[in-house]
Assembly symmetry: C2
Amino acid sequence: MSAGQAGTTYVELLKSRDWEGLAALLSPDVVYEMPQTRERIVGLERFVRFNAEYPGDWHLSVRRVVADGPSVALWLEVAVGSERMDACVWLDLSADGLITRITDFWPEAYEPPAGREHLTERW
Amino acid sequence: MSAGQAGTTYVELLKSRDWEGLAALLSPDVVYEMPQTRERIVGLERFVRFNAEYPGDWHLSVRRVVADGPSVALWLEVAVGSERMDACVWLDLSADGLITRITDFWPEAYEPPAGREHLTERW
């Protein structure tokens, strides 16, 4: 499986809540990190459980899959009810194509700082 | 120039505040978006000026460059004084290798929600 296929498959398995399929894509000692909260989950079983227990009826759409050698970057749109968020996900793959590290960013909306209104428009 | 080289060069030109070099890498009608603030900057001149005027003595380090065809994903660490932030940057390239679209995410730190302490460790 190419890195790009691994990235696309990772999203598809999450979408379909296919936890067995997801586990088969992960290294047993996979490390999952969320730098914004400084949280880390170590090991395949805990990571699958984290996803299975994740609250809310969330739905994923892919904005970008960029893959190169052992690295994949995913820009996802996450919908929970009427709320929309973006996620930026970085996957590292082992030589045999298993995911060894996942780094998730969940950027939140904020008000723009003053001083750049002469250059920007809003949507 | 390959997509990966374009991504690396983009960061190097920002690092060295080489605004002429940066301009040469951009499509004249480049679109820069920050989805968290719903801000958009249209056009090379405004985007270069936005960077030149950006406040603070910021320094960039590359965590990942992932490039594939017309897409580049950059995970950067941004230091301003003793403060450290991550940035996730998505570049779209034209057929002739110019950057046509830049999407920046600036994920901020937040407190982890309750209910997953049985799976996570903190750092």
